[in-house]
């Protein structure tokens, strides 16, 4: 990859939810000034709430197919239910002139594999495309924002995440922007994997609690699995000094680079209530720590990570 084409994609993650990913990402967006922003927490998207986005473009996300049984053609033979691996077919559908009951698909459980559609001797099962949600390109004071809304209760979040990231990259390439800041989803499953594959670096935001530590370990294991270098930042570190140290030691042992700590500061929630990133409205302890965090990571965002995981600390 030539240096001119390099676009750094920094994904902010946590494992455990509610550790401050979105607040940190929004503040980094302010400090970076010219990044492209992507909210990959597509089923509970919060980054737009603090960036005051102006929507430029809105598209429908087609989230695969779901089976639907036409009851008038169903003969209740039960082959679909016998073969469905997802417990998605029930024998409690409405009847018709010939039968008291028919089979019915629970669209929440259906994964759209199409096996029932293929086996139905009456061809009574349709596969219908589902509207899985929407995605948006918006303009903010701090750069273009790509975000999405998975239809509540819908699957396929991984595909929507991939779509948001692809679009963010296109916007970055078109605008000549060299940094994509990604607000990642919690957990370590499908949408997290979709946010991580092919990303440049991970910033893991955690909190000094047993859950914070436990979930961070799982996230760092995943980052290693994908060979993505990770920074670790303990948020609300003053809540428990011993636990903060324990987590930082553990993170270092797992190959991550420990970076700036952020203290507990009511200004973070106060800024969120005003719909603004904390560094944009406050100069208190949390804002100061996030500024330091940005100064520490910034030098490493211009180039691809080397073959060895670097220390994440400026020389000297």
């Amino acid at each position: 990859m030539s240096d001119a084409a390099f676009i750094c994609e920094l994904v902010v993650m946590s494992g455990k939810g509610g550790t401050g990913k979105t607040s940190v990402t929004a503040s980094l967006a302010v400090l970076a000034g010219s990044a492209v922003l992507a909210d990959c927490d597509v089923d509970a998207s919060n980054l737009p709430l603090v960036l005051d986005p102006r929507e430029q473009r809105r598209e429908t996300f087609t989230g695969g197919v779901r089976a639907r049984i036409r009851r008038e053609d169903c003969t209740a033979c039960g082959q679909c239910k016998a073969l469905c691996r997802f417990d998605a077919i029930f024998f409690d559908g409405p009847g018709h002139g010939r039968l008291p009951h028919t089979y019915r698909v629970d669209s929440a459980a259906c994964e759209g594999c199409g096996v029932c559609h293929d086996v139905c001797p009456e061809h009574a099962i349709d596969l219908e495309p589902t509207e899985g949600g929407e995605w948006f390109v918006s303009e903010t004071r701090f750069g273009p924002l790509l975000h999405a809304r998975l239809r509540p209760g819908h699957g396929n979040s991984g595909r929507l995440v991939t779509l948001v990231r692809d679009q963010a990259r296109q916007v970055a390439e078109a605008a000549g922007r060299r940094l994509i800041l990604v607000d990642g989803p919690p957990g370590i499953g499908c949408p997290v994997i979709a946010s991580l594959t092919g990303a440049t670096r991970v910033l893991a935001v955690t909190e000094p609690t047993p859950s914070g530590e436990h979930d961070l370990e799982r996230l760092l294991a995943l980052a290693r699995h994908f060979s993505i270098p990770a920074w670790v930042c303990v948020n609300k570190h003053d809540l428990n000094a011993d636990m903060t140290l324990q987590i930082e030691r553990r993170a270092a042992a797992l190959g991550a680079t420990v970076t700036e700590r952020i203290p507990y500061d009511p200004a973070v929630t106060a800024a969120q209530r005003r719909g603004r990133p904390v560094v944009d409205v406050d100069h208190g302890p949390a804002a100061a720590a996030i500024r330091k965090l940005w100064e520490r990571v910034r030098p490493f965002l211009a180039d691809p990570p080397g073959p060895q995981l670097d220390t994440g600390r400026p020389a000297g």
Binding site: D43, A108, H237
Partner: protein, 336 residues
Amino acid sequence: MNLVIASGKGGTGKTTVATSLAVTLARHGQTVAYVDCDVETPNGHLFLKPMVTRERPVEKLVPRVNQETCLLCGLCAAVCRFNAIACLPDQTLVYEELCHGCGGCTRVCPVGAITEAPHPVGVVKVGAAGAIQFVSGTLNVGESTSPPVIRATRQAAPAADWTILDAPPGTACPMMEAVRGSDYVVLVTEPTPFGLHDLRLALEVVKTFDLPCGVVVNRAQPGATEARDLCRQARVRILAEIPDAVAIAKEYSRGQLVVETVPGLREIFDQLCLRLLEEVPKEKCPHEMRQRLEAAIRASSQSPATGPPAAGDPFSTPRLAAPRQREEPTRAASAS
């Protein structure tokens, strides 16, 4: 009685509510099963500290192609709607991480060259934490599909008066897998813009399942009304408010069960149990069980000396509701 504790936003206090509720119900003589369905990041064991007696792997079936007998006809690749099989000129390749395990390819292969082999995706642990029966699912790191692990975890839950399911956050398929088929949903939120935004989304999901639900407001601020307004509009009841208190955050950060160590919380959770009795579907909660629980809660509130920490009026917790104070940072400088 299957009670699922869910939330749109992560980190609002699902596990705190689920574990505290389990402990409270067990203390009042109910049989309780705590079932951790947050299989990507399960945390209940950190607070309940159970003895795990049984561990069982969760597997999904993935195709294995016998290249000797494969005709390279490509029917399997054509039928797979997840692009998990590719038929190349000289071999047929399976991408196990994309496979949903539907069995479609095995079924269409004209020469029986595809068999299904188990591929581990997670584990289910079963044990006990005192009187509480404990079940917890864990997704293997690197695996993307948590719903099969959630299904297996739910299936491993033993029968009990109360089965408390600790759901994963969000509104996508893992959350739905935990919620569907339950009898009542408790949504935990916090009164911040993020918390309330995600509560609205979670309420929409619950509505699609047509399940009764109520809300627990965690980190409640005295005088803040947004959560109440939202719940009034959505016509859901606020079952309990847990105050925003440094004491709770500190005890949690030490891995303590806050209902046992923070004064005033025991009363809040007793009240939550009583509210739940009013709210849960009558047919799922036998009269006798209801009476037993009510009597036990009444008895314990009349003898506050039965356990630590005795508190004052159960309906108000002024000590906890005091505004949060800024803690002095324990270190001035950051880690090097």
